[in-house]
Symmetry: C3
Subunit: 386 residues, 3 copies
């Protein structure tokens, strides 16, 4: 025996310059991931989360958030199963009393074996946490690899007056099917029944293909790594023809300009999409596909708006609840969630990566796979879960 | 890694001249299989079926039935999940608009990429369909291997005035446990509580063993390949003896002749049984064990009767509903279904084929396994499912 | 292929002198295991049980209990699925009439093939049974390996005036997590909310560590093999300290002496614990962790008391029902069951045996693992299940 590999190496060896992406079934290690909204974790509250296949405890202590593996060093049980928290800073395992400090992961004591050689000399894994724009981020990786947060979020997300609102939910597909669904310019076809399309004036082609110069990669050393796609340099198709007859049309509005529902998208490591001017001009959608395990991701959907005044902020919150959450994040993106889940079985045994039959506009997806393979800081493996 | 084999090769290599049968866990490729009754598929109707591990779309267009793999070439999603049929002859994938013609499988267009190099140059897999005696048959195999239907049904089934009635249901066992249950002369023991036995005059031994000359194989080039078993050349046993005492008897009727409930059976590739003079003289039971996947088969149960006049046909339909369906196909064969499902676990990991302990009358089953290994036109593999 | 091994050999090869214990995921073969209470199996009654991954039929015939594999030699079906018992001593397979004698496993007849070469020449597997102290024991192993029962039960269990009462239930963990939970001196921490602690006067430390001389192994040739742990030679800890403050205390009573809730424990092959003076002085708890399969064990909980008179026996039964069953076997041990089930996932893929981080008092557990590896009479393998 020895463990079965996470990814079929036969497949990984067939894909050339995006092998790392195929191997990153559990996500890329050593990156920052949003896991909850800040307001979801109160002072002193303990929560259990999943991230890249690991189960973590999240706790807020004196305002700061800490993340620790939810698995006792002694005999591997989840501490969360019956949390014995005798002090604010520590958690004691309910089984034999191993006691850990949240801030460091240090085994501070074994209650009935205070003299144990282990005390003060062993640590449970902890991960750096940060908060920005109302989101809690966890750096899932090795201590000597920590990078600044701004390298792992899309440009503009951290800008001074940008306010962020959003929601999250679990999607039953691998995270990469989320990322590719979001960045793929042809899949707009599935949104043809969305209420959002009727709610505002849109141009909604059946799909569009990037022309020369539309796609650029961003790979500066101190910034985020991503692929940008400018829809003003795209060729849209408005009519679908079968056997010589037009059978379906993509509606165009004479009130608006533009190739598509947004002016462009970009996809960034470790798996976050930015949609410019969406759902309406002035708004930007940022959405993360956070790996939970091989088959599920946390879909963290956010909208950002620059608010110079408190009034603008109140107005944004109001519009978010009445318009963009129901018609955008729920309605429009509901189609995306459904599509990802239906695609999952074909890729579940990895063969989908070589059996798929991509067409010309999918070259943007290949660009993303190659970029992710070049700049992903590490591949989460089964070994990392032990 | 590389994929796990469908069948344990250690087992397949132990069975000698019926290795192909052990390997055909998903059935024999390049044969005709009944999948639905003709009346179950209306003009223009779309249905999803399974066959030898593949998921297929079935559609009737201008009277003719077509079968196509239900999996988009692009990214592997089931077309059936949200069928977009803009023309009678085509289906468009709901995700990115790949459009296929049912008759040929041809990728006729990608709605938003009409100039794609793929259009007109790629095909989704299709399979020939035929209809006979009120059943829809699909040839699950390669185009250059298509054989005439009459080579894959039992003799007599296609005869001019034979009328066929029947039903089908899913059984939770491998298809071979269906075939062997049907052909096995000893298993009559399980039918001892059937209402059919009380409904008409039967001779019902505990079991019977073929004598010399009872069993013959049929292997003519242009005909079906099968094993025939003539019960008039069998030795029946009427009393079960334990420790010197008769403990159970097989009832005999002085009103009828014969060794068993039928005068003989035969089993044919790709897995179809013919029971002569059953449930009563004048009727013939034809039943298929159609592989759905490794663990399930479609049990297609039919009765045939020669009807020279419309009156005979009306009478047959009436008797079928009032007598043979409830007492035969449901009651009597209900025991067979139950027995197959209980046998499944022993053979599920393939070891059953070498761990079983067959007795003398089971030689007829071995004859079938060898014949199937000689004449099966191909073995369905995991590779065929990709 | 060829079958996947039961235990990851990479792990088994890492643990040195307790390799056999890691390999015994399905338990040790060639030992006696209690499977039911005698009063649960009436004369003539047939029951189905599981033991070390095998499914067995248990039948009482003229007072004596017999155990036979519940799997027909012919085509592997469970005889129990529809038991046809035409005589007191035999069972006939419902499918084709293979008939077996319970006492010997002999294939005495095939009802419809009385002349078969197999009759009288094949046997289904049977196992020796015995009864003692109101329990039915089965020797799960090879006929030429049968040992006397007294080598497989703790000292004192078979003593003349000892009366035994108890119950059993299925626990969803490997049997070894049961054994180690029972013998582990540190896990008393989980019992801190038990009603038993409030019901009687106890000394209840947070845990205790064996000092020199506390632990001894018992390995005499004609006796049971076990590890004994004497709590009078232990160092108890009464206060749990975190960051300099006492955060939890183990209650002490000035009315009783002693280190812990019992005066000592011992663990014996093939997986049975003896707890001296528990739940109160004068009683002894004997409890078995009987492997059902890789992931479940039968927890057979018994209490023993020396009863010289009928009055003492009646009093014991009364106290058992009103005190020790609800507060001990149900309440107190309910925590143990819960803990074992929560520990299961960490050890399920075997890596737990090398990834665990034991502390000083766990040396008693290592002693047990080594003893079991030295004296286990055989390891149940997947091959034994075929
Ligand atoms: S398992 Fe956590 S202290 Fe033992
Ligand atoms: S998956 Fe069918 S068109 Fe893309
Ligand atoms: S399976 Fe038991 S007699 Fe055939
Ligand atoms: Fe979308
Ligand atoms: Fe039958
Ligand atoms: Fe306990
Ligand atoms: Mg900060
Ligand atoms: Mg580890
Ligand atoms: Mg025809
Ligand atoms: Mg393929
Ligand atoms: Mg065997």
């Amino acid at each position: 025996m020895s463990e079965e590999p996470l990814v079929n190496p036969e497949v990984a060896n067939m894909v050339g310059d995006w092998k790392g992406y195929v191997e990153a079934k559990l996500g890329f290690r050593n990156h920052w991931y949003p896991v909850r909204f800040s307001k979801e974790l109160d002072e002193g509250e303990l929560q259990v989360i999943e991230l890249l296949g690991e189960r973590l405890l999240l706790k807020r202590i004196e305002g700061k958030v800490y993340a620790m593996r939810d698995r006792c060093l002694h005999r591997g049980v989840p501490l969360s199963r019956k949390p014995d928290c005798y002090t604010k800073d520590t958690i004691t395992c309910w089984y034999h009393g191993y006691t850990y400090r949240f801030q460091t992961g240090e085994l501070v004591n074994i209650l009935a074996v205070p003299e144990s050689r282990l005390c003060g000399r062993r640590k449970i894994v902890t991960y750096p946490c940060d908060e920005a724009k109302g989101l809690i981020f966890v750096f899932l990786g090795d201590e000597d690899q920590v990078h600044p947060l701004h390298r792992d979020v899309p440009p503009g997300f951290l800008d001074e007056n940008v306010r962020i609102l959003g929601k999250h939910r679990i999607v039953e597909s691998n995270w990469r099917l989320g990322a590719e669904n979001g960045f793929d310019t042809l899949h707009i076809f599935i949104h043809k029944d969305s209420t959002l399309r009727h709610f505002r004036e849109f141009n909604f082609p059946l799909g569009h293909t990037a022309l020369d110069g539309a796609v650029t990669t961003v790979e500066e050393e101190d910034g985020p790594k991503g692929v940008e796609d400018d829809f003003s340099k795209h060729n849209p198709v408005w009519e679908g023809v079968i056997d010589g007859s037009v059978v379906v049309k993509g509606p165009r509005s004479d009130k608006v300009q533009g190739t598509s529902a947004s002016v462009g998208t970009s996809i960034w490591l470790p798996g976050v999409l930015k949609v410019n001017s969406f759902p309406v001009p002035g708004l930007t959608q940022f959405e993360w596909y956070v790996p939970l395990d091989e088959k599920r991701h946390l879909y963290v959907q956010t909208l950002g708006q620059t608010c110079e005044t408190e009034e603008e902020w109140i107005d944004f919150q109001n519009k978010f609840e009445t318009h963009w959450k129901p018609h955008g994040l729920d309605g429009f993106n509901g189609d995306d969630i459904w599509a990802r889940e239906v695609t999952e079985p074909f890729y579940a045994d990895d063969y989908g990566w070589v059996d798929e039959m991509l067409c010309e506009p999918d070259s943007t997806i290949l660009e993303w796979r190659r970029l992710a393979s070049r700049h992903g800081r590490g591949i989460q493996t089964k070994q990392d879960l032990r």
